[in-house]
C-alpha cells in the first residue's frame, strides 16, 4: 500500500511539468492581447516562409521530374550573339558525331495573338498527328481563344494574310504545366505562318543514349560548328534549380525584411523583460522557486508561443498552396502573362525542409526567451524586485 502511495519519479516529473505549464499559461493569459498579437505575427512569418519553401520545392520537383524527358542536347546556332536559325544541312553532321544516336531539326517559335493579347508557343512536332490545316492547342490557348475542337483558329501570317486553321483537339489540362500555351501544327503550316524557308530549323535536338558522353558530344558540337550553342539536359535542369532557388529572388528579399522585423519584435519582447516580468521572477525566487523552475517556465513560455505559431503557420501555408490554389501568390506567378497555365501544385517538401524551417523559427525564439530570464533568475531576488 505504502509502495503505491510513493511518488513515481517519471509521473512526478510529468506532474511538475504540467503544473509549470499551468503557471506559464496563466502568466501568458495575463497579457492576452500582447501575446496573441505576437502569436499572429509569428504565425504569419512562418506562413510566408513556409509558403515560399513549399512552392519552390513543388515547382523544382516538377521541373526535375518532367524535364527528365527533355532532349539530351539542344543545339542552337548563334549569329552576332543572338539565336539564329540552323541550316538543315547541319543535321546530318550532328547525327554523325560519335555517341549521338539521332539528330532531329525542330521548328518552333512564338506567336503573339493580338485579340487575346497572349503569347503562344507554336511548334511542329516530329510526327504531327493532325491533318493539314489543323492545329492541336494547349488548355491555356483554348481558354483565351475560346476554342474547342472543330472551331476556327485563324492566325495572322508573317505576310499579313490569315491562315485559316481548325482546332483538331485540345491537349488535356493535366499536362498544362508543360503544354498550356502550345499550338501544334504541320511543317507546311508553320512555314506559311512565319515565312521561314523550309531548309532552316529553329534548333536541332540530339539523342545521346550514354549520359556520360553528353559533355563530350557538346564539346564536339562546338568544335564542328563554332557558332553553335549546345544546351545539355543537365543545363536545363540546372537552369530550373537556379530559377527556383528559394534563397534568391525578390520574394525572399521582401520576406527577409519581414523576418528581420519579426526578429526585432521577438527580441524586444523576449530579451527585454518588462518590469512586471522581472518583479514576477523576483517574487518567485523570494518564495522559494529554484532558478531551474523559473527557466523551465520561461522555456515553456517560448515553446507555447513558437510551437503554436509554427503549427498554425505551416498548416495555413499548406492549405493556401495545395488546397486553396495559392491565391496570394497568383498575381506574382501570373506576372504580366495573359495566358497563365492552370496550376495544380503537388507538395514536394520533405522532412529536411520542415526541420530547417522549424530550427530557424522555433529554436531562436525559445532561446531568446530563456536567456534574459536566466539573467534575472540568477540575480538576487531583492535586487531584481528593486531594479
Amino acid at each position: 500500500m505504502s509502495q503505491d502511495l510513493a511518488p513515481r519519479p517519471v509521473s512526478s516529473w510529468l506532474e511538475r511539468q504540467r503544473s509549470l505549464l499551468d503557471f506559464t499559461l496563466a502568466s501568458l493569459s495575463r497579457r492576452t492581447g500582447k501575446n496573441l498579437s505576437l502569436l499572429a505575427v509569428y504565425a504569419l512569418v512562418v506562413f510566408a516562409l513556409a509558403s515560399v519553401l513549399l512552392l519552390t520545392e513543388s515547382l523544382r520537383a516538377e521541373a526535375r521530374a518532367v524535364l527528365a524527358g527533355a532532349p539530351d542536347v539542344v543545339v542552337q546556332r548563334l549569329s552576332a550573339g543572338r539565336h539564329d536559325l540552323t541550316p538543315a544541312d547541319r543535321v546530318e553532321p550532328l547525327a554523325a558525331i560519335r555517341g549521338v544516336r539521332g539528330a532531329v531539326g525542330r521548328r518552333w517559335g512564338y506567336y503573339f495573338g493580338r485579340g487575346s493579347q497572349a503569347n503562344f508557343t507554336v511548334m511542329v512536332p516530329e510526327r504531327f498527328w493532325g491533318a493539314e490545316g489543323e492545329v492541336v492547342v494547349g488548355e491555356g490557348v483554348a481558354r483565351v481563344r475560346a476554342a474547342a475542337p472543330g472551331a476556327e483558329f485563324p492566325l495572322r501570317g508573317a505576310d499579313g494574310h490569315y491562315l485559316h486553321l481548325t482546332v483538331r483537339e485540345v491537349i488535356p489540362a493535366t499536362t498544362a504545366s508543360v503544354t498550356s500555351d502550345l499550338v501544334l501544327l504541320s511543317d507546311a503550316a508553320f512555314g506559311r505562318l512565319f515565312g521561314q524557308p523550309a531548309d532552316r530549323f529553329t534548333d536541332v535536338a540530339l539523342t545521346v543514349p550514354n549520359a556520360k558522353e553528353v559533355a563530350t558530344v557538346a564539346e564536339k558540337v562546338t568544335r564542328l560548328f563554332p557558332d553553335a550553342r549546345p544546351i545539355t539536359r543537365q543545363e536545363l535542369t540546372r537552369t530550373y534549380e537556379a530559377v527556383f532557388d528559394w534563397r534568391s529572388g525578390l520574394t525572399v528579399v521582401i520576406l527577409s525584411a519581414a523576418v528581420l522585423a519579426f526578429a526585432l519584435v521577438a527580441w524586444d519582447k523576449a530579451a527585454g523583460l518588462s518590469a512586471e516580468e522581472r518583479r514576477e521572477i523576483g517574487i518567485l525566487k523570494a518564495i522559494g522557486w529554484e532558478t531551474s523552475d523559473v527557466l523551465t517556465v520561461k522555456l515553456w513560455e517560448g515553446a507555447v508561443v513558437s510551437l503554436t505559431a509554427f503549427g498554425l503557420g505551416w498548416l495555413a501555408a499548406y492549405g493556401h498552396l495545395f488546397l486553396g490554389g495559392a491565391p496570394l501568390f497568383e498575381p506574382v506567378l501570373r506576372g504580366w502573362s495573359t495566358l497563365s497555365p492552370a496550376r495544380r501544385l503537388v507538395p514536394a517538401a520533405g522532412g529536411l525542409e520542415v526541420l530547417t524551417l522549424f530550427i530557424l523559427t522555433v529554436v531562436p525564439y525559445t532561446v531568446a526567451t530563456v536567456v534574459p530570464a536566466w539573467r534575472a533568475a540568477t540575480t538576487d531576488p531583492d535586487a531584481v524586485m528593486r531594479s
Binding site: R18, L21, D22, L25, A26, S29, L59, A63, A65, V66, L67, A68, G69, A70, P71, V74, G81, H83, V104, Y110, N119, T121, M123, P125, E126, G138, T174, T175, S177, V178, T179, S180, D181, T222, I231, T239, Y240, A242, V243, G249, L250, T251, L307, T308, G311, L312, W314, L315, F322, V332, L333, G335, W336, S337, L339, P341, R344, V346, P347, A349
Partner: protein, 107 residues
C-alpha cells in the same frame, strides 16, 4: 479542465493536422492520380521534345529560360531594367560549362 490539458489538446490537434497534411502530401505525390499525371507530362515532354515548363508566358526568356539568349532580359540596352515581374523570381541561369576555345593553329 486544467489549462495545461487544454493546451496539450490544442497542440495534439495541431500535430494531428500536420500529420494529415503529411499524409495528404504523400498521397498527392505518389498516389495513382499524381503518378498518372506525372507520367502523362513526361510522355508529352518526350513526344514533343519540350525543354521548359510553361510557367510564365509573358516573354520569350521567361517562357523558355533554358533556351533564351543570355542577354534576353537586357536586350534593349546593356543597363536596361528587367521588364517583367516574374523576372524577380528567377535568378540568372548558371554559366554553361563550355569547353575552352582551342588554341589557334599555325597557318
Amino acid at each position: 479542465m486544467r489549462r495545461s490539458d487544454a493546451f496539450l489538446l490544442v497542440l495534439g490537434l495541431l500535430a494531428l493536422l500536420l500529420e494529415l497534411a503529411w499524409v495528404d502530401a504523400a498521397e498527392r505525390r505518389a498516389g495513382p492520380e499524381g503518378a498518372a499525371v506525372r507520367a502523362a507530362k513526361l510522355a508529352m515532354v518526350r513526344r514533343l521534345g519540350l525543354t521548359d515548363l510553361c510557367l510564365f508566358t509573358e516573354a520569350r526568356y521567361t517562357r523558355h529560360p533554358s533556351q533564351a539568349d543570355r542577354f534576353a532580359p537586357f536586350q534593349d540596352h546593356p543597363q536596361a531594367l528587367e521588364h517583367f515581374p516574374s523576372g524577380s523570381l528567377m535568378a540568372p541561369p548558371p554559366l554553361p560549362e563550355l569547353p575552352a576555345d582551342p588554341a589557334p593553329s599555325a597557318p
